[in-house]
């Protein structure tokens, strides 16, 4: 049996607010990370809640960056565990297991990557966008949020096209992330999306209508995060289930039962 993940301790290097209710945390690798491959865009890790044993379950987060010094993630302060996490200070230690799950596949030859993110789906899309930009592809990145104050302040590379959409029109295009998709984008698009379920379903439908490939990064409540409990199952088209933590979180959108 092959083991591609491990458990380690990380020290918080930085921890900042990036939008209303959203924070970005960067952590240093521990020695344990020497034994594992570098996390790839789309993959995730689990953190032991900062005041364990309450809450009891580890929390999964997608990487928003990873290099030789450490890794980062962006999270929304949503419940008790993330409220506690938001109080963590620089220098505090955090227990992680990673890297876990599947990765975004490379876009097919001749296609242009079109990345659509909403809400907390931004983290893995941010990592993937910079990865693609480094390889010389010029991805189109569409960010959707309810309002300007929910668009995270991040550094984007120059060789990508960024379109911001807000429901209230306070920043960028007025409307949902789908407003950011122009008919001319469709012909060569390879879609990647992460965020609210209705947004991903709409991107999947656009890909279906235009006959283009689409991959979705799904979010589910997890207990173990390593494939043992089968608690994070999602329905797939053939009437069976797949585990978001092992077969996902990245799926071909045509596999998923929407």
């Amino acid at each position: 049996m092959s083991v591609e993940h491990t458990r380690g301790q990380a020290r918080i290097l930085s921890h900042r607010a990036v939008a209303d209710g959203y924070k970005e945390m960067s952590l240093s690798w521990s020695d344990a990370a020497q034994a594992i491959p570098k996390p790839r865009p789309g993959q995730f890790f689990t953190l032991l809640p900062i005041l364990y044993p309450t809450p009891i379950l580890r929390r999964p987060f997608a990487y928003s960056d990873a290099d030789k010094t450490g890794f980062s993630f962006i999270y929304e302060i949503r419940g008790p565990a993330t409220r506690d996490l938001a109080k963590a200070d620089i220098g505090d230690e955090i227990d992680w297991i990673g890297p876990l799950g599947s990765t975004f596949p490379h876009p097919p030859e001749g296609s242009r990557p079109v990345l659509v993110a909403g809400g907390i789906g931004l983290g893995p899309i941010y990592y993937w966008a910079r990865f693609l930009a480094e390889t010389g592809l010029k991805p189109l990145v569409i960010l959707g949020a309810r309002s300007k104050n929910l668009i995270p302040e991040l550094e984007w590379p120059e060789n990508l096209e960024l379109r911001i959409c807000t429901d209230d029109g306070s920043m960028g295009l007025h409307g949902t992330a789908l407003v950011g998709l122009k008919p001319s984008d469709m012909a060569s698009a390879a879609f990647y999306t992460c965020g609210p379920h209705p947004m991903m379903a709409a991107v999947h439908q656009s890909a279906l209508d235009s006959g283009r490939p689409c991959w979705v990064s799904l979010e589910e409540m997890m207990a173990c995060g390593v494939g043992a409990c089968q608690g994070c199952a999602v329905a797939v088209g053939d009437g069976t289930y797949k585990r978001v933590c092992v077969e996902g979180p990245v799926f071909n959108s045509r596999e998923v039962a929407w």
């Binding site: 049996m1 809450p55 379950l57 409540m221 173990c224 043992a228 089968q230």
Partner: protein, 109 residues
């Protein structure tokens, strides 16, 4: 306490001896391979597998988990690959573990 004075934690159940009374309960450790590299299986008295049924079971319609202040409740629905695949793919893994495995079986009338 010196190592010579370490307490004897062995227990006997149904004529079998286990090195300690710590068992990882049904579903928490899958079929033994998922926690490879994360847990020292030598430290466990016994692994209790997920339930195995004669035929494969897809499990319940999600959601399957809910966290509570005291832990969590789940309704996975006995999802498992069925006896045939269990014997072919899971048993060799279980046999390779340093701790004994207790197979959890389920059926219906």
């Amino acid at each position: 306490m010196t190592s010579e004075a370490a307490p004897d934690l062995t227990v006997r159940i149904a004529g079998r001896q286990f090195k300690n009374p710590l068992g990882v309960a049904s579903g928490t450790f899958g079929f033994g391979e998922e926690y490879a590299g994360l847990t020292d299986m030598n430290s466990i008295g016994a692994l209790f597998t997920k339930a195995v049924t004669p035929e494969p079971r897809a499990g319940n319609v999600p959601p399957r988990l809910a966290e509570t202040p005291a832990g969590m409740i789940n309704a996975i629905g006995l999802a498992n690959p069925g006896l045939k695949m269990f014997l072919r793919e899971k048993v060799p893994v279980l046999q390779s573990l340093p701790c004994p495995a207790v197979v959890n079986v389920a059926g219906s009338t």
